[in-house]
Symmetry: C2
């Protein structure tokens, strides 16, 4: 007999590199972002939520020179709008919005944005194609007071979400100082562009290669562990000394660091301007009480120096965690930013200065979890069990009273036949208390309250005496339901 | 001389049908959704945030039978995942998630979801291609207690966000009753499918066409104003009477309505089952105190009857607004839902019952705005003006103190040369207070506080005497800055 060919069932899977977030994960992130938004708002920043979809033209980097552009972004063609793509960050949409609405927006325009962005990259462990970003930028303020403000706000934000003072530091550096260093090292001018590129890339590898590795790249070049050779910038020893001196100019106090940098770039106008900016930032922060326990001038901040045009900043968490091999290491960077000058020039031809910061949402949330400082987490609901399906209205009344009192509660809505399944459900839900009322209890106008948290603890550790002393199930008058449940929750530090 | 051809600048525009949300709009929606999430959470619902991108296979409706499917959804092809698309609602992803994770999720699974969805439709006035949905569903609970719970939760939600009792009503109907009506009217059986389709569509047009229009469609057909003729179901008068009787079975009390419906479907097993369900829902709600001032059994609810399989519900706002022609009309529907049974069958072959509700985020927000009940709105920041750019640190210190005290505040970061521009900026920002300190005030250790709200009012209406009596600018000691600003804000009901 021939088999009937069936249509295969669709696979229940996300596309590769995408994932779902459940319950507590969603609530914890929401709570963290709400706290961040509160700080940003207090600083005068306004929310902006742009559309997820932009024209490829407005996004800029990914113009379609082939039939279907999909390098880095998810793009498709629309009959009425041409090629469009999902935003890959929150800065490109800000540029488009500012160019589009610049006559209606205040100048300076302080805005924050939070939401998913999408990258068409090869997914890997921990690398997803959709993830959250959380940015704050000030557009149209040329003064470094705007940069200082962002640093102060970043510090306040970290403390507001639950990172203690002393567990983080905001480091500030300046691209102009590096440009001055390049001048002093004899690397100015168009004809030195290639060397400058190599120097920038070498500096950017300080974290990974250490000073010796960087020095090799500044000089003749470097052979890595695999035997591959990276060509160096070919600097003379004294030239390389200047560049290395820049990265190692950090001193105990901001004033000393500034003095060291000033000496290093003596004779370079741009370098001196950069040092002046760092000095101004330090003074402005000092006037508001942000001392070096929170924000420091630190020439070893190199990330982003290639991209930004003035001050750059980075927030690092300084407490130790264990890496995958069990070795202690610092948690590291959770936010970074800086000043960039060509935000809307592509659209309008005008140069508009901007400075901003982006918080790594997933990394900061991971840090808060390690520190036990996540908000938004919560216990499961109180479960009102169903002993008698004809009395569902009674159980609904109980659950209604609990909810009215602000207590998270549910009636069991599955098949009530097997009571064990109801308790298994309560367990799966992380329920702190089960409410039980059979016919006998109903006749006597009482309910049984089963303390599931205590019950689980007792089951693990208790002696027989303790079981007797601290019964995990109590009978209370029906009228005391809400008060007694509330007391049980309070005992476990769960307030509804 | 030949002109140099320039690369045209990109247009700073969203793609057609997409838009941005600014400041207060974002904050108001966030606040409303946070309140809704709080109610859902109290009812035991867990948050779920699925990826924005799904495989076209999992979404189901839009399988690619052409090279590039773009009917209704935004879709594109990935090398490693095949055709994918942006989600067009929050129910299809729930089906995929439940099928994928059913062994790890509790049963029943109560979940809520909030977020943007995307539709590839022709945009029009007020019709966007990206908009918010806000859903709550209970999966795996066959009992109508789950439906009753959703109705109660919907009622609580509306009151929590700011719709007063009496300004809304949740109406409940049941598809099974309609099926019973079809049986009684002699429209059961496969051979009557075409007629049933016409009847369903006719019922669905009750709002628009009124009873006479529906009756015409149940009978011979109907010619509309343009002269176009829509063919009718060809029912005999007594058959049409039964269908019309269903829609008009609403009585003053739930019990009377149930009795009327019971009489109407007498002899139909499915119809009687539907009436029983309505009766059970009413009893369950009654036991929790949700009387007909909040939730009513109403056979005139026809929206969604074609789609759902059991109870259907709809929340309507009953207060009047003026339509575009200035005529009063009811605000109308802001949420709807019901029971549907084939949520995950496509994936697993198993039938899993589900019931849920979807709130129209934009409509509910519009209603709250009309009622003046939006939360999250806020005044602009206090502006500390810059009279002397060398004393920026002093101004930053002021703004720092204000922020520490929880007061939204900014220092002016634009070019401070023209003081008028600073006040224009404050105006554009909706700032309630400007802080001013020139060299003279600094010497005397005082600041000027300009009450911009009072100033605007006085400018509009005040006589000369009032101007003198209620100066909108006061000088206060520098040390009293925070206290005095707080008092000014309190006077205007703005608390930071």
């Amino acid at each position: 007999m021939a088999k009937v060919k069936k249509t295969p069932r669709p696979r229940a899977e996300t596309p590769k590199g995408f994932r779902d977030y459940f319950g507590t994960d969603v609530a914890e992130r929401s709570a963290m972002l709400a706290t961040i938004a509160e700080v940003y708002h207090r600083y005068g920043f306004d929310a902006l939520e742009t559309s997820a979809v932009e024209t490829v033209e407005a996004l800029g980097k990914f113009l379609p020179d082939v039939d279907r552009p999909n390098e880095g972004v998810f793009a498709w063609e629309l009959d009425d709008s041409g090629w469009v793509a999902l935003r890959y960050d929150l800065t490109a949409p800000l540029a488009r919005v500012y160019a589009q609405h610049r006559n209606d927006l205040p100048t300076p325009y302080r805005r924050y944005a939070m939401g998913p962005v999408w990258r068409n990259e090869k997914p890997g462990p921990g690398r997803f194609r959709q993830f959250y970003q959380c940015d704050a930028d000030t557009v149209g303020a040329p003064s470094v007071a705007a940069d200082a403000e962002i640093c102060a706000m970043l510090s306040d934000t970290l403390e507001a979400v639950g990172i203690d003072r002393g567990d983080y530091v905001v480091r500030v550096n300046n691209r102009k100082v590096l440009n001055g260093v390049m001048e002093v090292a004899g690397l100015a001018g168009d004809e030195k562009e290639a060397e400058r590129g190599i120097v920038l890339r070498a500096i950017d590898k300080l974290d990974r290669l250490g000073p010796d590795g960087v020095r090799a790249l500044l000089g003749e070049g470097r052979k890595d562990d695999s035997g591959d050779f990276t060509e160096g910038a070919g600097l003379a020893r004294e030239q390389a000394d200047v560049v290395m001196g820049f990265m190692e100019a950090g001193r105990d106090t901001g004033a000393e660091t500034v003095a060291a940098l000033r000496a290093l770039v003596a004779g370079s106008a741009v370098g001196t301007a950069g040092v002046d900016e760092l000095e101004t930032i330090a003074a402005l922060l000092d006037a508001q009480g942000y001392g070096p326990d929170r924000i420091v001038i630190d020439p070893s901040v190199v990330r982003g120096l290639g991209y930004y045009t003035g001050p750059v900043f980075e927030a690092e968490l300084t407490f130790e965690i264990l890496d995958e091999k069990g070795r202690p290491r610092q948690f590291g960077s959770v936010a970074g930013g800086g000043r960039y000058d060509d935000l809307v020039k592509r659209f309008t031809g005008q140069e508009v200065p901007a400075t901003g910061v982006s918080i790594g949402v997933d990394r900061l949330l991971a840090a808060l979890r390690m520190k036990g400082r996540v908000a938004g987490a919560s216990h499961g609901p109180v479960i009102v069990t169903v002993m008698d399906r004809d009395r569902m209205a009674d159980y609904q009344a109980m659950v209604g009273e609990l909810r009215q009192a602000g207590i998270r509660a549910e009636v069991y809505l599955g098949n009530p036949k097997n009571f064990g399944n109801q308790l298994k459900y309560a367990d799966k839900r992380g329920s702190p208390v089960a409410v039980i009322q059979g016919g006998d209890e109903a006749d006597r106008d009482v309910v049984q309250l089963k303390d599931l948290i205590l019950g689980a603890k007792l089951a693990e550790t208790a002696s027989l005496e303790e079981w007797k002393d601290r019964p995990s199930q109590v009978e209370v008058p029906r009228g005391d339901l809400v008060a007694q449940v509330r007391e049980m929750l309070a005992r476990h530090g769960a307030d509804g």
